[in-house]
């Protein structure tokens, strides 16, 4: 767009560029410091309040955290919950979404209303806690998956996606004698790669970042996911970090920073994919909203 730019407009342009750059920096600079600090010595961290390059480079903090069984276990728990949880969530959502996308299905509307109602009203924290307890899931890793296994909003998006697939393919497969399961697996799913990619990331980010369910349902600290461990490290004066009381010798600020880095790393790795698909998914969702 070519516009005759007034001097006022040009001043605005300059300021706009600068302010936006500052905003963008505010999003990323904290991480630069956290990463730099995790490789710095405790003395430097105490002396310099902010830096992007450490004077003395050390991997001591990482060596330490990866030598504590507590930390390694918590990473293991988080990976397990993220992988298994994403598979469970994705299977449930795609299967249910596909079935509910067929308008011929008897009872479909009632079930969709039941799903939508759960967006408006939930039993809440205590009844859900009591349910999980009565199911015997306290201190089970399944308690980190099952209570949040499905998101009704995302299910609705999946339903409308499947509805948008052309009907002709299904009809011709039907004539060839294919069952609904076969059509779902060999026709609908291969056409759904964008939505599968989107929701794999949606669910994986949800499970990786969740500490709430662990806070409620997991009291055995051998089963803490990494986010709950990090929360403990950050908020507790006396940390339950490592079985050995090695913290006395081990500088703790660089440890905290190293744990933050490790807990953020998976998100940083998938971020290029995330950005692409989340934007798409968000717009898909907003069409419904």
């Amino acid at each position: 767009m070519k516009s005759h730019n007034t001097p006022m407009g040009r001043v605005f342009d300059v300021f706009n560029h600068i302010i936006l750059a500052l905003i963008a920096l505010a999003m990323i600079v904290p991480f630069l410091y956290v990463i730099a600090g995790s490789f710095a010595t405790e003395a430097e961290l105490a002396r310099r309040p902010f830096f992007i390059f450490p004077e003395t480079f050390t991997t001591g903090a990482y060596q330490y955290i990866f030598s504590t069984p507590t930390f390694i276990r918590s990473i293991g728990v988080s990976i397990w919950v993220t992988v298994v949880g994403t598979i469970v969530s994705l299977s449930l959502t795609l299967m249910m979404g596909y079935a509910l996308s067929k308008s011929r299905l008897l009872g479909k509307n009632v079930i969709i209303y039941l799903v939508i109602f759960t967006i408006i009203f939930q039993g809440g924290m205590i009844p859900t806690y009591l349910l999980v307890r009565d199911l015997g899931l306290l201190n089970s890793l399944w308690a980190l998956i099952l209570p949040i296994a499905m998101n009704p909003m995302w299910l609705i998006i999946v339903i409308s996606f499947f509805r948008s697939l052309p009907n002709e393919l299904e009809e011709s497969a039907k004539i060839d004698g294919a069952s609904d399961i076969k059509i779902f697996l060999s026709i609908a799913l291969p056409l759904s790669k964008p939505i599968i990619a989107t929701f794999t990331l949606f669910y994986a980010v949800q499970y990786w970042g969740d500490y709430f369910n662990a806070l409620l349902y997991i009291s055995d600290n051998a089963k803490y996911p990494v986010m709950l461990l990090l929360q403990n490290i950050m908020t507790m004066a006396d940390m339950r970090f490592g079985e050995v009381d090695a913290l006395v010798e081990q500088p703790d600020q660089s440890l905290k920073l190293a744990v933050i880095v490790v807990a953020t790393l998976p998100i940083m790795f998938v971020y290029p994919f995330l950005q692409k698909h989340f934007a798409k998914g968000m717009l898909l969702g907003s069409v419904k909203g």
Binding site: I111, F121, G123, P127, Y129, L130, M227, Y271
Partner: protein, 319 residues
């Protein structure tokens, strides 16, 4: 397509052999039901059973007696709740935070989207977008950890700078005065970038002709923004604002709990935080469920009211 199918179904349902037909439909779609059932069971168990479970708000629920054995006490917990000064403090905290969110968090992405929209150099715009979307994907634990690292009074960069200029530090993490500012700040930091997506999409649909016409009419930069750009996204703003009101009482527990400590409980106690502490840590199951039920019912009323308003507004803007 769906229309064709319903018109096929209607005469079938009018036949006297209705039941057989329904049964035949179920048999015909048996594999679809097979796909449906695991998810349906999940919704019943993990969403509908807890709804039923809110009935313990009308009991003196005891974990030993269980749901069926506990004594029913009617509205006792609600009566006690409404007489409890704590309740009004929590309601007040919740409403104040909700109001601040609407005033400060909600408009932030609109402003950022308008700023981004004025950038004509695509690579620059895209770089900024990539950076500002990032915090959205971080866990609240990470956001809170960063807040601790940067705002602590013992060597956090923010306080180091403040001390250099004023000679004293500010206790951001414990001072009740600062609690809401920190919460709102975190929300803006985490969500502002991602929130722009929907507005930028709406802005992309504004036709170039409108801008050109405005330029011909001699409208400057800001007048164009005011008279062309903003009206074009007004629709989206109104819809999102209404959706936002539906979640008015839902302050994210995940965020607030992390910033809560014994020093700032007086302002940090919003519904969900209070429910957690009284229900999970103190075991007052029935009392905290009553609080949750109150919140849930008010939530439904808000959603239905805003939906009603939304419908009215939509009609007005359509015609």
């Amino acid at each position: 397509m769906p229309k064709v199918e319903t018109s096929q179904r209607i005469p079938v349902q009018q036949l006297p052999t209705n039941k057989v037909t329904k049964w035949q439909m179920i048999v015909r779609d048996k594999w679809l039901y097979f796909l449906l059932i695991p998810g349906l069971i999940w919704f019943i168990v993990f969403r509908y059973v807890p709804m039923w479970g809110t009935l313990i708000a009308f009991q003196n629920y005891s974990p030993f007696l269980g749901f069926w054995g506990s004594e029913w006490v009617g509205f006792t917990h609600f009566e006690r709740l409404f007489q409890n000064p704590d309740f009004y403090r929590i309601l007040r905290n919740t409403l104040i935070l909700a109001l601040y969110e609407t005033l400060f968090v909600f408009p932030a992405p609109i402003i950022l989207a308008l700023m981004l929209n004025e950038i004509r150099f695509t690579a620059y715009k895209r770089t900024i977008q990539t950076l500002v979307y990032f915090p959205n994907f971080l866990s609240w634990v990470i956001v809170a950890s960063l807040t601790y690292v940067f705002f602590t009074t013992s060597g956090g960069i923010v306080n180091v700078i403040i001390e250099r200029f004023t000679g004293s530090t500010i206790f951001f993490l414990g001072d009740p005065e600062w609690f809401r500012t920190m919460i709102i700040g975190q929300q803006i930091w985490k969500n502002v970038g991602f929130g722009t997506i929907i507005f930028l999409a709406a802005l992309a649909n504004v036709s170039k002709e409108q801008y050109e016409a405005a330029i011909v009419d001699g409208a400057g930069r800001f007048r164009r923004m005011w008279h062309v750009t903003l009206p074009a996204i007004r629709h989206v703003i109104v819809i999102l604002l209404i959706l936002n009101m539906g979640n008015f009482l839902d302050q994210g527990f995940q965020q607030i709990y992390l910033m809560t400590n014994s020093l700032n409980r007086s302002v940090a106690d919003v519904f969900d935080v209070y429910i957690y502490f009284s229900g999970i840590t103190q075991g007052a199951f029935s009392h905290s469920t009553a609080v949750g039920l109150f919140k849930g019912v008010v939530g439904i009323i808000l959603i239905l009211t805003t939906r009603y308003i939304a419908k009215k507004l939509k009609q007005e803007t359509l015609f």
